[in-house]
Subunit: 192 residues, 2 copies
């Protein structure tokens, strides 16, 4: 990726995360990225929608890498899930409750209004569910239970982001994290 394109993607991702897709204009993106306005249409001939789709997939991929990194460093799934939630809480505090899920705001905005963008968010979510399921299977949890656990953990995380951002408190993330850890512990004890 060229420097300019990367700056445009980066700025878009941040603006979408903080204020949503609808509320973000291409002029604001170009200004934040210090990119000439025309370069935006050079890299994204389809305009804001193409940019939106690429940013959804790109940010979704980065978030997946984040989970993989945390999982790799943790000695077991219980620690990994706990670390993931406490890392998310720390990031929220550090960013004044702005940086949570990279695509949730956009996902809710577009779910009933823009099918190409909805599909992009669904594909990102599928990739997260598959990766978390595979991780839990590798940790000794039966396949079907692993998918249920992956979905529950991700729902807890996404829901907690909504409450924590609105309430400007990490309490929801802490309780949701504890609930996710308990679910992993229970699945491990049944699977073994």
């Amino acid at each position: 990726m060229t420097d300019t394109k990367e700056r445009i993607m980066d700025s878009s991702a941040e603006l979408f995360r903080r204020q949503g897709y609808t509320g973000t204009g291409v002029k604001q993106i170009a200004a934040m990225a210090s990119a000439p306005f025309g370069s935006l249409y050079h890299f994204f001939p389809g305009g804001k929608e193409q940019l939106g789709e690429e940013v959804i997939r790109w940010s979704g991929g980065l978030y997946l890498q984040l989970f993989a990194t945390i999982a790799m460093q943790a000695p077991d799934p219980i620690t990994a899930v706990g670390d993931f939630f406490s890392g998310a809480a720390e990031t929220l505090r550090e960013t004044d409750y702005a940086d949570a899920c990279p695509i949730a705001t956009v996902a809710l905005e577009v779910a009933s209004t823009n099918d190409p963008l909805r599909k992009a968010t669904a594909e990102v979510f599928d990739s997260w569910i598959d990766a978390a399921s595979a991780y839990f299977v590798a940790g000794g949890i039966p396949h079907e239970q692993a998918r249920e656990l992956a979905l529950s953990m991700l729902c807890l995380l996404e829901g907690a982001f909504i409450f924590s951002r609105a309430m400007r408190s990490t309490e929801p993330l802490e309780h949701a994290g504890a609930c996710a850890v308990a679910a992993v512990r229970s699945a491990l004890s049944h699977g073994s």
Copy 2:
């Protein structure tokens, strides 16, 4: 509430839920409510922001009543929580995956961009957490554990709404519901 005001509130709630606050214009609201454009500013002199704040509190209150009704009809907390998630899944299917949480989309849009609206969403969330906590306490769960459980259940629900809407599937709601029921069961067995 006068008929016209109620139609304006109703249409706003539906549009905010489906397409968010930012993407909804006052002209679209007036048209959907079959209300003269001027009447909107008659009832809401503060314009879209005042309307947004009133709609957030009003829809949040209606959703609270829905939970209370389901809880009252259920014989115990385990059934109540299961029924709440399966009712939510049914509504999603019936509305082509549009009608989920009345305020989540707005909550994410405004969390970092509009403090009066953020506060309104936080107060609604607080009222839900308090009501669900009180319900669990009445069902025999110790107070502190009841709050954790209430928050976890609500995070599971909100997160599942994001995944179910994006993926156009009730699978996330079903697994999140099962996880919430398991958490209630575990809290009840520890509390008794």
